[in-house]
């Protein structure tokens, strides 16, 4: 038996097919993962992602700790409610985890002008939350920074073009207006709910952190409005269509951000900020990046899947010796495009078309620039 989220009993009563995901019992689907996928693209769906780790970081050195831990620059977070996506790196520049950090508030500031009370919230992957907590605490030694794991909170993602309006309908009028006023990558404590305009599907929507005891009620009220319960299966096809990496598949502790389509999350300026992994990344940039993560689209039938061998079309006679070879890191069937898509790590020179070993057959695939599905960015920025 795996770990259970506050919504476990509800998932069972909804007929979910539960699977083990990083030690957690979570819904794969409630019926058809294709139907769930389309519900998110066309209207709204909701996901239980309470397995993800929510850590509050506070103290006089909270900001300094995060500036050292995260390759993106937490200095960009000057206004409470702002969110930032980034990676924690190890000393070799490998990705320890990807995360979102939210600037909660600075309650001490008004009193003494010092930011001794700054509070941040970090949301990390479920499979890595224990190792992340150990890593963050080890880096916090000797600093005035307290890390609190918010096991009291559930996390529900509501995603899709109608998601924000649907969430607003389950809130009190004043709270609804506050939630709809949130800009992209902004968050706010609204009543008992911490509502963030973030997500992992490529659609607009919210991620809602709320007291565990309220999770079931909110879920059922959203269901009653027609918001479809969605499992991890749909979450995976949605994120891959949007070209979003999955930690442990598309990047991990042995790959750096520049070979993982995550270079944009590395803030090398200001140069004085000595984040963990910086020296390794500077060395990588000095000697050149030899691998990259690309998007692939299969022209014919079949499904690209993680672990399949990729052969660059111009690899020539040296293909067998390991030159020109790559590997699929994530692959699936795209319900929107009705053909297979994948992310693959390949030699930096790869372009045009490649061949992929799909169950013993070499199938031709086109190199494309993710996102695979071009999503309308409706709503205010």
């Amino acid at each position: 038996m795996g770990r259970r989220t506050p919504l476990y009993e509800l998932h069972r009563s909804l007929g979910a097919r539960l699977i083990d995901f990083g030690g957690w019992d979570l819904p794969l689907t409630y019926g058809s993962q294709l139907d769930e996928h389309h519900a998110v693209r066309k209207a709204a769906g909701l996901f239980d992602v309470s397995h993800m780790g929510i850590f509050d970081v506070r103290g006089r050195d909270a900001r300094a700790l995060l500036e050292r831990l995260i390759a993106n620059d937490v200095g960009k977070l000057q206004a409470p409610g702002k969110a930032l996506y980034g990676c924690m790196l190890n000393e070799s520049g490998g990705v320890v985890d990807d995360l979102i950090v939210y600037y909660l508030d600075a309650p001490g500031e008004a009193h003494d002008g010092l930011r001794d009370g700054e509070r941040f919230r970090v949301v990390v992957n479920g499979a890595t939350r224990e190792t992340d907590l150990t890593w963050i605490r080890s880096q916090a030694r000797g600093l005035d920074a307290e890390i609190i794991e918010r096991v009291d909170l559930a996390l529900i993602a509501v995603q899709g073009p109608e998601a924000r309006a649907q969430v607003a309908r389950v809130l009190a009028p004043g709270e609804a207006a506050a939630s709809l006023a949130l800009g992209r990558y902004r968050a706010a404590q609204i009543g008992d709910l911490y509502i963030a305009r973030t997500g992992y599907t490529g659609e607009d929507g919210f991620e809602v952190m709320l007291p565990a005891a309220q999770a079931q009620d909110v879920w059922q009220r959203l269901n009653a409005l027609g918001v479809v319960s969605c499992g991890l299966g749909a979450r995976d096809t949605l994120r891959l269509e949007a070209g979003l990496n999955l930690y442990g598949h598309d990047m991990d502790a042995s790959t750096h951000p520049f070979e993982s389509r995550l270079g944009w999350t590395v803030a090398l300026e200001p140069r004085a900020r000595r984040f963990i992994g910086r020296e390794a990344l500077e060395a990588v940039l000095a000697r050149g990046i030899d691998r990259k993560l690309i998007g692939l689209e299969l022209d014919g039938r079949g499904v690209l899947r993680a672990g399949q061998r990729v052969i660059a079309a111009d690899a020539g006679p040296r293909a067998g010796s390991g030159h020109g070879q790559g590997i699929v890191t994530s692959g699936t069937f795209s319900p929107t495009l009705q053909r297979s898509i994948a992310l693959a790590r390949v030699p930096a020179a790869t372009a045009g078309t490649v061949r992929v070993d799909v169950r013993g057959k070499l199938l031709e695939a086109s190199v494309v620039e993710p996102p695979f599905v071009h999503l309308s960015t409706k709503g205010s920025p």
């Binding site: 058809s32 069937f333 319900p335």
Partner: protein, 131 residues
């Protein structure tokens, strides 16, 4: 709970067999199997005329989650294949025992069907697998 219709025979690898009035055997995958696979997106059916032995893969079903070989429960010759599955693989999810049939075979030995699992035996098997 998965459906296990009476009147059919079953294999340990989750295929079903129906004896047709003309002596052909209609074959497909069980409700239990389609549930385990999830939404199907591609089905590769065999060419009529092809000879298959018992236990040999004769079709491939691919879901969003995984690709799986489908094994032939009885030796014989493929007499027909359900070509509609190429454009409508979801028929296997929606109707595994009727519209989702995969092939019809002309068995080498009609008596071979009697050696397959009865509905009761197959129900026990999938119950043991946690159906």
């Amino acid at each position: 709970m998965s459906q296990v219709p009476s009147g059919l025979r079953y294999s340990k690898t989750h295929e079903w067999v129906r004896v047709m009035p003309d002596g052909l055997l209609e074959i497909g995958i069980t409700d239990h199997a389609q549930r385990a696979l999830g939404d199907l997106v591609f089905v590769e059916t065999p060419e009529p005329g092809r000879r298959v032995s018992a236990g040999e893969p004769y079709a491939v079903v691919e879901s969003v989650k995984a690709a799986s070989d489908v094994y032939c429960p009885v030796a014989g010759e493929i007499a027909a294949a359900n070509t509609e599955l190429a454009s409508a693989p979801e028929r296997i999810n929606q109707s595994p025992y009727e519209a989702g049939w995969i092939a019809r075979i002309r068995p080498d030995d009609a008596a071979a069907v009697a050696k397959l699992l009865t509905p009761e035996q197959y129900s026990k098997l999938i119950e043991a697998e946690g159906d």
